[in-house]
């Protein structure tokens, strides 16, 4: 296999990794906020359910969770798996897992907000929703950005766990080529891919951080 063919195959895997990455963020960031609300809810039952959810998802390996999401429906309901469900299972698994982490980050940010901000907004006539989305949330975003950056960088690397469901993202392909051709090269290329990917992520996040540094 020529180097260029290998690159081509890895690149197609890279696009799939990127897909997992983007879709996971698209779903887990809003879901995480909902989970955080549940975690901070006055409803004790909901609060405890969410506590268990967060604890289980953070306390067990993501790879195991992916396997459960993928094979669970088959063992439980005899559902036919494979085909498009493979990709769906990956997105569901990643989103549920990352939502748990993001929820705790949101919560720490929301709880760090001074109560005076809520009080000022309330007296000015903002209702709860306006107060949250206009006053509190933008400030929370700024506060949690470094923690979010950490998770996002981890996510880039975690996409490789999809190999456990034999989904043809970059790492899975790298492994296949390496095994078939008995060469170490695909791993080196994959490493460079992941690294550059993360470099872009880091630079982007830094840009956002800078953009939000107009106030303290």
């Amino acid at each position: 296999m020529s180097f260029s063919v290998m690159l081509e195959q890895l690149s197609s895997g890279m696009v799939k990794s990127l897909g997992i990455f983007v879709l996971t963020l698209v779903f887990s960031l809003p879901l995480g906020l909902l989970v955080a609300f549940g975690r901070m809810s006055k409803n004790r039952l909901l609060q405890n359910i969410i506590k268990v959810y967060i604890s289980v998802l953070r306390g067990t390996p993501l790879m195991l969770q992916l396997l459960v999401v993928y094979f669970g429906p088959y063992y439980l309901f005899g559902m036919r798996i494979g085909g498009t469900y493979r990709f769906l299972a990956i997105i569901i698994g990643f989103s549920l897992n990352y939502a748990a982490y993001f929820a705790e980050i949101y919560r720490s940010g929301i709880e760090s907000m001074p109560v005076g901000q809520y009080e000022a907004a309330t007296v000015l006539g903002y209702n709860k929703i306006q107060c949250f989305f206009r006053i509190i949330f933008p400030q929370v975003v700024k506060r949690i950005l470094p923690a979010v950056t950490n998770e996002v960088i981890t996510l880039v690397k975690d996409t490789s766990l999809s190999f456990s469901l034999a989904y043809a993202e970059m790492f899975t392909i790298a492994k296949q080529i390496a095994a078939a051709q008995t060469t170490f090269m695909p791993f080196v290329v994959a490493a460079i891919f992941y690294y550059v990917f993360n470099l872009v992520v880091a630079v982007t996040m830094e840009k956002i951080e800078k953009k939000l540094s107009y106030y303290q």
Binding site: G116, A120, V123, L124, G125, Q139, Y215, Q216
Partner: protein
Amino acid sequence: MNLLEMNHIRKHFDGLEVIQDISLSVGEGEILSIIGPSGSGKSTMLRCATMLEKIDAGEVLYMGERAACVTEDGRQIYPKGEEAKQIRSYFGLVFQNFNLFPHYSVMKNITDAPITIQKRKRDEVYEEARSLLKKMGLEDKENAYPCQLSGGQCQRVAIARALALNPRILFFDEPTSALDPELTGEVLKVIRSLADLQIAMVIVTHEMAFARSISDRVIFMDKGVVALEGKPDAVFDSDNGRIREFLGKIAER
């Protein structure tokens, strides 16, 4: 009819009676100062009046409309939705530590509530905000962010923000206590200039000379009750033991 009526208010925090059956009223355009030692319940009283704190007994009325009420059998009744919004529009509150929104510019701090909550026209609100800023001596700061301002400037923005909603009554909770002494004067001057706007003001303050000169009426609170109430001269020159002791301690500082 009084602008604000607070009747037989009680408030306790885990067993501690912080407000013990206080009644108080404020007329249209009246300036009332509340003085008293630390922990006497002044802030709590303002927080009850502005619906930031729930009362345990009594009722709060703005223009005869019920803002808070506790029934005989201890049920707390608070208005909801549009009714609550209407009542909130009657008053404004200036905090000791300003509580400006740090992510909003000075202009946005002032105009966001009138535009998003009162649904007023942007141009009109901006124009009004500019004239308020001018009144506050901050006409060159509309694009600044709170973190770029001094404490005194922040407090003046906070006052402008409250005024932009055209309240009938403005509450101040120690508006100069977080400021360096040299910045106190500029804020007091601004508050003084509001006296002819026909907005009623309730001012909790430790600035005795200021309270004496600006107020129509002064209330001296001590340990959760109104210990003395009357015209400024009558209160400050009273030979009541508690106020003499309080004023003595303030003078020593």
